[in-house]
């Protein structure tokens, strides 16, 4: 399983803050995870944003970062703290 998390505006648009995605060998990178989500339909296109940020196991990463079974993967808009 991949533990998916969504934050802020993405969570609002997607109507969920977390879900589990069954893992399979074709999920090699965060880009593969995102592609599965984008294929679900219109609301999910929010994840196609150029400035999307992502994290693997609670560390910032990029879409080419590898994923393995059991990882926690988060997608979120650019951060606005401070």
């Amino acid at each position: 399983m991949i533990q998916l998390q969504f934050f802020a505006r993405y969570r609002d648009v997607l109507g969920r803050d977390a879900e589990q995605m069954p893992w399979d060998a074709e999920l090699r990178t965060l880009e593969d995870v995102r592609a599965r989500l984008l294929a679900r339909g219109e609301a999910w296109q929010v994840l196609a944003e150029q400035r999307l940020m992502c994290a693997r196991n609670q560390e910032l990463c990029n879409l080419s970062t590898p994923v393995v079974d059991g990882d926690e993967v988060a997608f979120f808009p650019p951060v606005t703290g401070g």
Partner: protein
């Protein structure tokens, strides 16, 4: 290093004094306090909600402080960021840096704030007369990082 992510407010003066209390070799303490404004992007703001990524937030802040400690000789660093509901005029964030001399303290403080604004997982949602809206990230915040990076480096 001290990292706090909390809903409770804080007294910046008290935090500044604590940074000096345990280090008699400290000659400089630089503190930054960020506050909620009552105005943003041309609209009055009546309140703000701060969301974060529990677990990652603390790690991201500690990582930023470690990077600062690797660049400057610092005696103590305290980063405090509030989450939850905030009102205009309330303090949101405190970054305090103690060092022997002022230059390291000023620079490290700016470095930590620049990275906090662009790398720590916090998101602001503000209340305006038109309703609630997520605050957009500013390109200028991302550009501010370039002063700390050598050519070709992107993170």
């Amino acid at each position: 290093m001290r990292i706090d992510v909390q809903t409770a407010s804080f007294d910046p003066g008290e935090l500044l004094n604590q940074l000096h209390a345990d280090h008699r070799g400290t000659g400089a303490v630089v503190g930054f306090v960020g506050y909620v404004r009552d105005f943003n992007d041309g609209d009055p703001v009546s309140g703000m909600w701060l969301e974060h990524y529990p677990g990652m937030t603390e790690k991201a802040l500690a990582d930023i402080v470690e990077q600062a400690q690797a660049r400057w000789l610092l005696h103590e660093v305290h980063v405090l960021h509030r989450v939850g509901q905030l009102e205009p005029g309330e303090p949101i964030v405190f970054v305090g840096v103690a060092s022997a001399h002022r230059q390291a303290a000023f620079e490290a403080n700016t470095f930590i704030m620049d990275y906090l604004k662009t790398r720590a997982p916090f998101w602001k949602r503000e209340s305006t007369p038109q309703g609630e809206r997520w605050v957009d990230a500013k390109h200028s915040d991302e550009q501010a990082l370039s002063r700390w990076q050598s050519p070709g480096e992107s993170s």
